[in-house]
Symmetry: C2
Subunit: 645 residues, 2 copies
């Protein structure tokens, strides 16, 4: 199939793919359905509005599904409609399209609806009701079982008989690109000690899980199981998934009711839903044929080739490297490494009568091969964290993920140029919140910046490379690129803010001062800054916590007291000068410092509501675009519901 549109030969989004997603553009900001094709997204809302479906009369009456902010309405129309629409859109883009008037020869519509992929923002494509995570990657289950129970008892007795699964958390499913904040929770620092007493800590064994996931198109009624042969028609399509896992939190919490906090902080999916029909040419047999006799009849499929030949891989762009550096290849495997297919998972899910709804998501579980370098998690690749791997650059070592690591999953079917059916990327970067005050100010001033993350838990800031940049070994460090001079390195955030305050005046059109004009108020502002930046943050940061732990003490009560004292002091001072913000009615550096401090206060059990002025200001300042932008939860691609308070 050849298109009149120029589609790169290696594109995941060839003419035989046509995956569906939800996008916004900088111009409108209204989420609309789209397809990806080559380096473009076709805005289906604009396409529909301009008569794009005029040659598909059977669908035209239903085409208002493309005016919805999610794909649920389209998905609910069922597989025959999806097939028809996909084939019609392929016809529109074919070089010898029978309908050249629609788009090929319609420059106005091309201009309106055909948008460069890198200009649009993706969103979670369907509103997800319930999310279920299975465990159907037998190599993964075996590898993990060997780690915990040895090779003889690696798989539980139920494993080959049913697709083991558990209910997951739907609310925290995010789209590719959303930064991932390292979760905190209860962990055992010495799992073999008795009695077992947990400590509260940031997760130290943060892992990825490479999975595929299926969106439900049409559901079933409560009490009506879906027969396995009908199950595939209830699937809208597949996405790639990273089921982030806090291994240390999981090890402590999961007996007897399964993973909970270790999984509920975030799950990332790729933005484009690849329809089952697009994957038809890539059918293959999984780890066992789908119709094997050893499973109960309700799981037995007619076909043996019930899964798909999809190449899977993941890379890591380690902390300390720039966005421009190529990521390092870690692992590659194939989606045939599944014991059960999605239709089998769906049939099993509903066998009790459980109802599925349009938009529900079913994930496969981690997919691993058997060979070294084909595992879908670091847990497996590093032998439970005991043998850190050296990444392909020959020097970076990883047992688990570090702050600033960016993980990139990729999935693609096919091996012929011009005919790939790919999923694009599923990306997430691990973030700590230490440098947020600087990010807020940079956003306020509209200064572009390239964040480079440094991993504190692992003392990465003590590396020679970092020491050369910042002898005080603290974060953040601002490296200001200057037009006619060498780069300026500023290793203290407050100093960096003052520098920016003084220089940005002449360079940024968005400049607004963050210090009051009145000298007295400037002094109060700087005092508030110090209360946070000197009296609270250095005491509660990770370095301080590590020191306290070296004394075999629990740092949390200590951090709590420091935070309470700091907020009480801030409250006392600010309550006298506050207007809309901490000092008067304009944002100042004090606000910029205050906000990130309250973000971490909750982790120490401090209730910001005890400080009414602080609470009011924080609530107000969090409405500012610059603040939202600095916090990953409110990146433009964070779905609407996460902004709910």
């Amino acid at each position: 199939m050849v298109s009149w549109l120029s589609i790169p030969a290696k594109s995941h989004f060839s003419l035989i793919n046509i995956p569906f997603g939800i996008i916004t553009t900088p111009k409108s900001g209204v989420p609309v359905p789209a397809i990806a094709i080559g380096d473009y997204a076709l805005d289906l809302s604009a396409f529909t509005k301009n008569g794009g479906f005029s040659h598909l009369p059977s669908f035209q009456a239903q085409a208002d599904v493309f005016y919805q902010p999610t794909l649920n309405a389209f998905a609910a129309l069922g597989r025959p409609v999806h097939r028809q629409v996909r084939e019609y859109l392929q016809a529109i883009f074919k070089a010898d399209t029978p309908f050249p008037d629609v788009l090929k020869d319609n420059e106005a519509l091309q201009k309106e609806a055909l948008l460069p992929l890198n200009s649009v923002t993706n969103h979670v494509p369907l509103q997800i009701g319930d999310y279920t995570d299975f465990y159907a990657g037998r190599n993964h289950a075996y590898n993990v079982g060997v780690l915990f129970r040895g090779p003889d008892n690696a798989l539980q007795p139920n494993y080959n008989h049913l697709p083991v699964g558990y209910h997951g958390r739907a609310s925290s499913i995010v789209v590719s690109g959303t930064p991932i904040v390292r979760p905190s929770g209860q962990i055992l620092t010495n799992p073999t000690a008795a009695p077992k007493v947990p400590v509260f800590s940031p997760c130290k064994r943060l892992d990825i899980e490479l999975e595929m996931a299926a969106f439900v198109s049409t559901g079933n009624k409560l009490g009506h199981p879906v027969p396995v042969e009908e199950a595939e028609d209830h699937i809208f399509g597949l996405v790639l998934m990273n089921d982030w896992s806090a291994r240390d939190i999981q090890a402590w919490e999961y007996v007897p009711l399964g993973p909970f906090n270790s999984k509920n902080f975030a799950t990332t999916i790729s933005p484009w839903v690849v329809l089952i029909d697009a994957l038809e040419p890539f059918r293959a047999q999984g780890l066992e044929p789908g119709n094997r006799d050893s499973i109960l009849p309700y799981l037995r499929e007619k076909r043996a080739d019930n899964v798909f030949n999809i190449k899977l891989e993941f890379d890591i762009r380690p902390s300390g490297t720039s966005k421009e550096d190529a990521p390092i290849h870690v692992s590659e495997t194939n989606a045939t490494n599944l014991l059960f297919s999605f239709p089998q998972m769906l049939a099993h899910h509903t066998i009790t009568g459980c109802n599925l709804r349009t938009g529900d998501l079913l994930a496969s579980g981690t997919i691993s091969g058997k060979e070294p370098g084909s595992q879908g998690s670091l847990l497996e690749q590093t032998n439970g964290g005991k043998e850190p791997i050296t990444l392909a650059d020959g020097k970076t070592k990883r047992a688990f993920l570090e702050d600033g690591d960016e993980v990139i999953l990729r999935a693609v079917a096919g091996d012929v140029d011009g005919a790939y059916v790919g999923f694009g990327e599923c990306v997430g970067r691990i973030e700590s919140s230490c440098s947020a005050r600087l990010r807020i100010a940079l956003n306020l001033w509209g200064i572009p910046y390239n964040p480079i993350f440094v991993h504190l838990l692992k003392n990465e800031q003590c590396s020679d490379q970092y020491r050369a940049l910042n002898p005080s070994l603290s974060v953040p460090v601002l490296v200001a690129h200057r037009a006619s001079e060498d780069d300026l390195v500023i290793p203290q955030s407050i100093a960096a803010l003052e520098y920016l305050e003084e220089t940005v005046r002449s360079t940024s059109p968005q400049y607004r001062t963050l210090l009051p004009n009145d000298p007295a108020l400037r002094a109060i502002t700087r005092s508030l800054v110090s209360i946070i930046a000197s009296d609270v943050q250095p005491i509660t940061n990770l370095r301080s916590q590590r020191w306290i732990k070296e004394l075999e003490a629990d740092p949390v009560p200590y951090c709590r007291k420091a935070t309470e004292a700091g907020l009480a002091a801030y409250e006392a001072l600010a309550s006298k000068v506050a207007g809309t913000f901490s000092v008067g009615d304009d944002i100042t550096l004090a606000d910029v410092c205050l906000v990130p401090a309250t973000w971490s206060a909750a982790r120490f059990g401090v209730d910001v509501q005890n400080y009414p002025t602080v609470a009011r200001i924080v609530a107000r300042i969090e409405e500012e675009e610059a603040v939202k932008k600095a916090h990953w939860r409110s990146q433009p691609d964070t779905p609407e519901e996460f902004r709910q308070t």
Copy 2:
């Protein structure tokens, strides 16, 4: 507090309660918010529309939340608003109300908005995003642990440190009164045999779990944990919950990822949400004080009395007894039997940054006392099913629930007449689908009937009482009450249908014949009836399955073949005479028999789509009101989303 409205002294819905729910009335059918007070529901939509909130100006601009079909919008307004509205509504109903014009002296509005409770239908009160089930009832966890691991290791090492919990299934949460279909799934008939090979079977160890659950009012942003001291303000109110559990399915599936199919078929909640403020007077200490030093600071509350003194109990109305018979008291306990409070569960849930949304539901886990007769599950009361209990009638025995058993949970705080804060009832009855063909016909003809359930798995149909009624020991049996004669007992469903066909003609205004007038078509119809009623149903019913198992064979492949043969025969015959329905364009007895047969076909792995005429007819006939009404999934109180296909 005394009301001008007559409120029974023992009412759960006293003037100091004011719980919120969603109701429909037979007249309108549109779901609207309401409160329960005494024996009445106050329709808040009608109340608002008629200026009910005219004396609460601060709320009036927001009062359109009461025009919504769920309570989500009201819940999202936050606790201060809920408090204000509740207190205002109390003032409206007080004997010395300062606003008599609103309702007390307004007979027109009373007539429009004050509806007898027994005339309204309740619905799930909020749209539930995610549902989480905790395990905070330590006595229950201990009792279950003793059963599985003995008293020394009954509780896992993590148990006292964190509220253990798991993600549950939101889609299958139903409101009190919704019948519960016994689920089927994989079970081990002999758990100690090796190798372990499961069979497909209806659940044989169906249990209840008595729990409380909390609805989330205002959520939190992803990445922002809720401090434990703020957590209670994120709770809208509590309901009573029955977390139905398939113990045999659970035992086989739950290692290592927790319960899945064993819980996903249904969870029942009571319809009226009791606000936290209404429970304030009943604060009490749980199994440990909420501020004990032995838990990590993020879970430590300021107050010791962090749970509520709520009396809990459950009754069973055993199968074979009529709706009019009083249920039998089984167990009573108290909601103070919790190790962790809802605020602690909520704080733990979000400690990783997990976001909650308005309408999310958090359940406590089963609540049990320590004494005999105070357990919240049959598993505990019967020592794992080994020692069936004798119910309070002195004769009925139960290890687990039987088809036709109705379970009634109740919860109430307070011990002063006129000042109870209760939850009403949380009711569910276990249903098999055997008698559905009769129910469909009775509905088609508009004949009222009083179903009495007989438990087949336990051979209850062999009891002397039943033998006297129906010597053939099969179900269903129709007992027709006749005006001037003795009751007529008809022990065969087809005979019963023919009897009704012949007699109803003169008595039912809704009569329409279910047999064609043409003799040839009558014969075809009766043939189709026999294909199902003779060739399929008797082979695949429970009695037949039991017999096959007594041969140590797996009945499923057998049932599958019988079903496939029957449907193939039906297809061949019907494809020649079918119109809209199996025989021509009117519903006949054949359709009435066909539909329930296809309901069970899926359980044997039979794909109805292989029989295109059958599939088409079934899809069509399921749209009929009489059929919908016969299937529990479409009872009037089944929420809208379950009707989705």
